[in-house]
């Protein structure tokens, strides 16, 4: 590895998986096509692909292919190629402003709300392109629960915040709704704190409580994938741990993508880590590979300053 690793604008693709047909499992090629359409030689060090040794068998639930996002002349995401393994926790790491939130929002096609964002490339969930014009957006979005970076409780009571998604799904049975509200509030460790004021306004909760409420709200819809953008940024260590434990439990039934700035948390949670920098995926692999054997200098620097 040379010391002067050119960033940004380097042409080295660390994700080797580039494929033309998208229905089969990702194929690995020695070189990859970059945005200009040129074949690049992969860098000399042996590369890890999305499924490194220990999670070799996990199939991808989400495939992101040649994904680009531009806004007003600047590139926010640049040629992202990622495979998100099913039933695992994928952690996105990277300095502030590198495009993590943008990527999560695009997975939910919330980019639709920002006409200034120009999106191209493919994101496949279970083989379906979520950017396909005839895609049923509500279904796609229900498959993924997004936990935004700052909690935004809906302008209604705590109870209704959770009941909302259920009603949208067409669940009308009051008893079922009541049970689910209780279950999911318990799951995120909020029940004891709010059980006496379920019908009070959700906006009065503390930020940390709102964060957990938003998680409960997302879980209630029964997604397959949970997208969590710094889910513990406003939580005390104990609540953070509770959420982490909940995530590890959720892994049984869900796939999780978690953004965090806390390296220890990444280490505790991750099965797979993706490191981003200035809108590009620089390196990815198992926690062991990322933390103990980082290859690129940027990642090394990032890890050093993070400790």
């Amino acid at each position: 590895m040379s010391a002067s690793y050119p960033i940004p604008g380097n042409k080295i693709r660390l994700t080797e998986s580039f494929d033309a047909g998208f229905l089969e499992e990702p194929s690995f090629k020695a070189g990859s096509l970059d945005a200009d359409g040129q074949i690049e030689q992969s860098i000399s060090t042996p590369q890890q692909n999305a499924y490194s040794t220990n999670d070799q068998k996990a199939p991808a639930i989400l495939s992101i292919k040649n994904f680009n996002v531009q806004a007003a002349g600047s590139t926010i995401l640049k040629n992202i190629n990622l495979e998100i393994p099913k039933g695992k926790i994928t952690v996105l790491l990277g300095p502030s402003g590198c495009g993590k939130t943008t990527l999560l929002k695009c997975l939910n096609r919330l980019s639709d709300l920002h006409p200034s964002l120009k999106v191209n490339g493919k994101i496949l969930i279970d083989g379906e392109d979520i950017f396909h014009p005839t895609q049923d957006l509500t279904k796609i979005r229900q498959k993924m629960g997004l936990l935004s970076q700052r909690p935004f409780p809906l302008p209604m009571s705590i109870y209704k915040n959770i009941a909302y998604g259920l009603k949208i799904k067409g669940i009308r049975d009051k008893k079922v709704i009541k049970e689910k509200v209780e279950k999911h509030l318990k799951d995120v460790g909020l029940w004891e704190e709010v059980k006496d004021r379920l019908h009070g306004p959700a906006a009065r909760l503390s930020i940390g409580q709102q964060q957990r409420l938003c998680l409960a709200r997302g879980l209630a819809v029964g997604p397959e994938i949970i997208l969590a953008d710094e889910p513990t940024s406003a939580l005390d260590p104990i609540s953070s741990r509770k959420i982490e434990e909940e995530f590890l439990r959720l892994k049984e039934d869900y796939t999780l993508i978690v953004v965090t700035h806390i390296l220890r948390q990444a280490r505790r949670l991750a099965d797979h880590i993706v490191f981003m920098y200035f809108g590009e995926v620089i390196e990815q692999g198992t926690p062991d590979e990322i933390f103990n054997h980082p290859k690129s200098d940027i990642l090394k620097q990032y890890l050093q300053s993070g400790h």
Binding site: L113, H114, L137, M144, G145, I168, A203
Partner: protein, 301 residues
């Protein structure tokens, strides 16, 4: 520089001075309506001493020469023309504001802001002239005949239409601000739960903006209640309770504007006009109190 420095008042003193000014300004603003109200009461006293207040409010007979001062027709005239303008403008403004902030392309929204500014800047007398030239003949010549009715065109409906159009820029502008101020992340939260865009607007955006919406609509109503000249030009000014929207009406502001300064030789007339102003004042006061109660009811979410 040094001289300037030494000229600076100590922070504590400027602080005290500015709080003093603020208190004074606030006090002035609070006292202003009170002073107006008291002034109107004093000026209406001669009439109030002569006739029973209840009779004046409930009687529709208004013949000052005979000493009959019944205000019922004027109160109804004001209420009906305001109600009509509200019914005509509020739904349109609400839907237009939703469309312009949530759906329309940016250039259209920008154009509308420009149009709104122009509309808001047009003096009300111009709206009145426009009503006389367009709305009145349209109602008299086409709309009423099509319904098998006849009207001079100077009627309640003309007043309602003109007022509705005048209220649009104010209501629309405020409503658009309300919808724009709903954070996009809130919409994202609702959408990511699987709601459609329309469901999101219905249950999240409208709910979040409800206080602003009530405030905007009540501003529209207040404006319609107080608007004088444009209504006066098209509403017919006949002191009778209108039986249909094609009958003439006579709202309170029009009564005051039409007669103040002219008929002062008639005994008690000026006092009667002051009483009309007092009525208008009380109506606006009551209306705003109702709005406030409504706002405090829906406030916290």
């Amino acid at each position: 520089m040094a001289a300037l420095q030494s000229l600076r008042l100590p922070a504590k003193l400027t602080d005290r001075l500015s709080t003093g000014w603020l208190n004074f300004a606030v006090l002035f603003l609070i006292l202003l309506p009170l002073v107006i109200g008291v002034g109107l009461v004093i000026k209406s006293l001669p009439l109030l001493e002569q006739a029973s207040t209840w009779k004046m409010l409930s009687s529709a007979e208004f013949s000052p020469q005979q000493g009959h001062f019944g205000f019922y027709a004027f109160i109804m005239g004001s209420a009906l023309v305001t109600l009509l303008s509200f019914v005509l403008s509020a739904p349109v403004c609400l839907l237009a504001a939703i469309y312009l902030t949530e759906y329309s392309p940016a250039w259209l929204t920008q154009t509308m802001y420009f149009v709104i500014d122009v509309l808001a800047g047009i003096p009300s007398v111009v709206y009145g002239v426009w009503g006389v030239l367009v709305v009145v003949p349209l109602l008299a010549g086409y709309v009423a005949p099509a319904l098998g009715l006849s009207t001079t065109g100077y009627c309640l409906l003309s007043g309602g239409v003109v007022l509705a159009i005048m209220a649009v820029p104010y209501m629309l502008n405020m409503l658009m601000e309300v919808f724009r101020s709903v954070p996009v992340e809130l919409k994202e939260a609702s959408l990511s739960l699987g709601a459609t865009y329309w469901e999101t607007i219905k249950w999240v955006v409208l709910r979040k903006g409800i206080t602003g919406i009530i405030a905007a609509l009540s501003l529209g109503i207040s404006k319609a209640l107080g608007e004088t000249i444009a209504v006066l030009m098209v509403v017919g000014n006949v002191a009778k309770v209108p039986k249909s929207v094609f009958d003439a009406a006579y709202p309170l502001p029009a009564l005051i504007a039409n007669n103040y300064g002219d008929m002062m030789s008639v005994p008690l007339y000026d006092s009667a006009l002051m009483f009309a102003a007092l009525l208008l004042f009380v109506i606006i006061l009551v209306f705003n109190s109702i709005t406030n109660v409504l706002l405090s009811r829906v406030k916290e979410v």
